[in-house]
């Protein structure tokens, strides 16, 4: 950038001066302190991050989607603690309320002059507040998306980097495995695994030291496991491609000459230099994972009751969809907004951070 500015200034100067062979004496005078200062004050160097963030901030759609993502996080993780109802409590006598409708008990309370928080989206057939369930469902969706993508990021990037860095027969064998997993029809295996994993996981949760499994939920854990077993291959392929190009660069040879260990080169030099690709691929992996989770839950194979998921909420609402359409539309719209926002965010980040698209 600085060089560009300098050369532009130079061009302007040469344009203003008519073409002549007469040399101007003043051009050869020693530079004044002011002129020297002009050369010294260069613009601050722009790091990779600041460059990317600056570019991203100019992208209106990207910023809007970031705002939506942040709002959804707030909605899913923080708002439930301030919301007067929770996702599992079955309020007796207030089953199947319409939005903003009060049950008899609640009307009595209002008559006494006490304030009752309205059920923003009504309650379901078991008397559970739908808004609270949507918040919890969004939390599950976001958790699945983010945790699964984090697992995929770790496995995929390390695997891809090792394959690309060592090359040769290591690469051939490792990438053959990737090829095979890649051709395995993922959704079939995911469905199959999520059915079969539940029993061993429930048994494991009963043994000492694994009680945390029940806290997170067997369904959720098995979803994490199946996603991380199958979805890392895309990441591994992308990272390998990048590492193949990066490892030929001089700074890798320099690091080698200085005696750096392979692990250090991969960690410090190769992976840090594909950080743009890693960010973008991970962000775009989030909506894909959320998509699959909602799909599984819709089919009744995802998280287990009473834990709500946007997919399973939509599935249960299907039965009464003509009488209570909002019960279907609320989770449906929420899941669509979450997926859309992450997709747009990923697109925006790709434009900002992917060096291949850098102008």
């Amino acid at each position: 950038m600085n060089q560009n500015n300098a050369s532009q200034e130079g061009k302007e100067k040469s344009r203003t001066v008519p073409l002549t062979f007469h040399l101007k004496v003043e051009d050869f005078l020693p530079a004044s302190a002011e002129e020297k200062q002009e050369l010294v004050t260069m613009r601050e160097s722009v790091s990779f991050w600041r460059d990317g963030i600056r570019r991203f901030r100019r992208n209106k759609l990207g910023m809007a989607s970031l705002a939506v993502v942040l709002f959804m996080m707030f909605f899913a993780f923080i708002l439930p603690s301030f919301y007067p109802y929770n996702y599992y409590e079955q309020l007796r006598g207030s089953e199947s309320l319409a939005p903003f409708e009060y049950s008899k008990a609640e009307q009595a309370q209002i008559a006494e002059g006490r304030k009752v928080f309205p059920h923003l989206l009504g309650t379901d057939t078991l008397g559970r507040d739908i808004m609270a369930r949507i918040m919890m469902g969004s939390r599950i969706s976001l958790l699945v998306g983010i945790v699964a993508s984090a697992i995929i990021l770790v496995i995929g990037s390390v695997y891809g980097a090792i394959a690309g860095y060592f090359g040769g027969w290591v690469d051939t064998i490792m990438m053959r495995i990737v090829d095979i997993i890649y051709t395995v029809p993922d959704i079939l295996i995911i469905i199959l695994l999520s059915v079969t994993l539940k029993h061993p996981l429930t048994r494991l949760a009963e043994t000492a030291g694994f009680a945390w499994i029940n806290k997170v939920g067997v369904g959720l854990i098995s979803i994490f496991i199946v996603f991380s077993l199958l979805y890392w291959v895309g990441m591994a392929r992308i990272v390998r491609g990048q590492v193949l190009a990066l490892k030929e660069l001089d700074y890798v040879s320099a690091a080698k000459a200085l005696g750096a260990k392979n692990a250090r080169i991969i960690r410090k030099h190769l992976l840090t230099n594909c950080i743009g690709t890693l960010i973008v691929t991970t962000t775009l992996q989030i909506p894909a994972s959320i998509f699959t989770e909602s799909f599984l839950s819709f089919l009744g194979l995802g998280v287990m009751a009473p834990m709500p998921s946007l997919g399973s909420m939509a599935a249960t609402a299907l039965d009464g969809m003509y009488s209570y359409p909002y019960r279907l539309f609320a989770p449906a719209i929420t899941i669509s907004i979450i997926i859309l926002a992450f997709n747009l965010l990923g697109d925006g980040l790709r434009d900002a951070f992917d060096p291949k698209l850098k102008d």
Binding site: I191, V195, T196, F295, M321
Partner: protein, 305 residues
Amino acid sequence: MLKYIVKRLILAVVTIYIVATLTFFLMYLVPGGPFLSEKAPSAATLAALEAKYGLDQPVTVQYKNYMLRLLQGDMGPSLKQRGKEVSDIIFTRLPVSVKIGSLAVVVALACGVVLGSIAALNRGKALDNIIVFFSTCGIAIPSFVVCTVLMFILGEKLRLLPTFGLNTPSSYIMPVIALALYPMSYIARLMRSCMLDVLGQDYMRTARAKGLSQTKALFKHALRNAILPVVTYLGPMIAYTLTGSFVVETILTIPGLGASFVTSITARDYPLIMGTTIFLAFLLVTMNVVVDIVYKLVDPRINLQ
């Protein structure tokens, strides 16, 4: 070329073998069995049932037997739908799914390519923005949402289309839209970016300069080059249509293979789950191989090694 095809075929066979083995042992891991969920049978009946289906033998023997029978195309009997062979169930339900699926693929391809090209040719104009907006939404909306919303609006509120079964031609409309929306949006976006890329190439200017009409240049040069990446998407698209069919067929109660797969899982009908998984895997892997080979044939620039 031959080397490439052989390599792909070997990979395909290995993949199908792995899927079959994985499915078999995963099924074996699940405690209990399909008979336990029924009205608690006596120990003697259970033993007799297990002996009948060969479930009392060691797992390795069961595995060997199953694989040998599978090689002969025999997927065994269904445990829940008594008296029916798994292969019979698959092949009576397959045509229904294939009909809907192939219609959806055709619709998605045709509309996606046309919409994407229109958007690229009108870059930056209102039409382009509208197409980009809707195709972005189309990617974000899961098929179960599309399907239920369609059912609610077209089926219930407007009463234009039947909401279940496949009895009239008009009942194909909803499942096909629900299945085609995602791949159509994806293709439209892909097509738009590839078309923009191609339109900026030098050979497009050359084509116009040598006197080719705009239409001819578009169809002869731009479209043919821009459509190539769409061909690579065919493989994933077929896979997507298949998984989409699980949801769409279940919601719209269409007697296809997808709905049968979902019910077989909830009913724990192991031979049927296994048979369907292996069959679908076989179908998908074969389609992928075919698509890959077609792609290499269509694009002469691709290095075959």
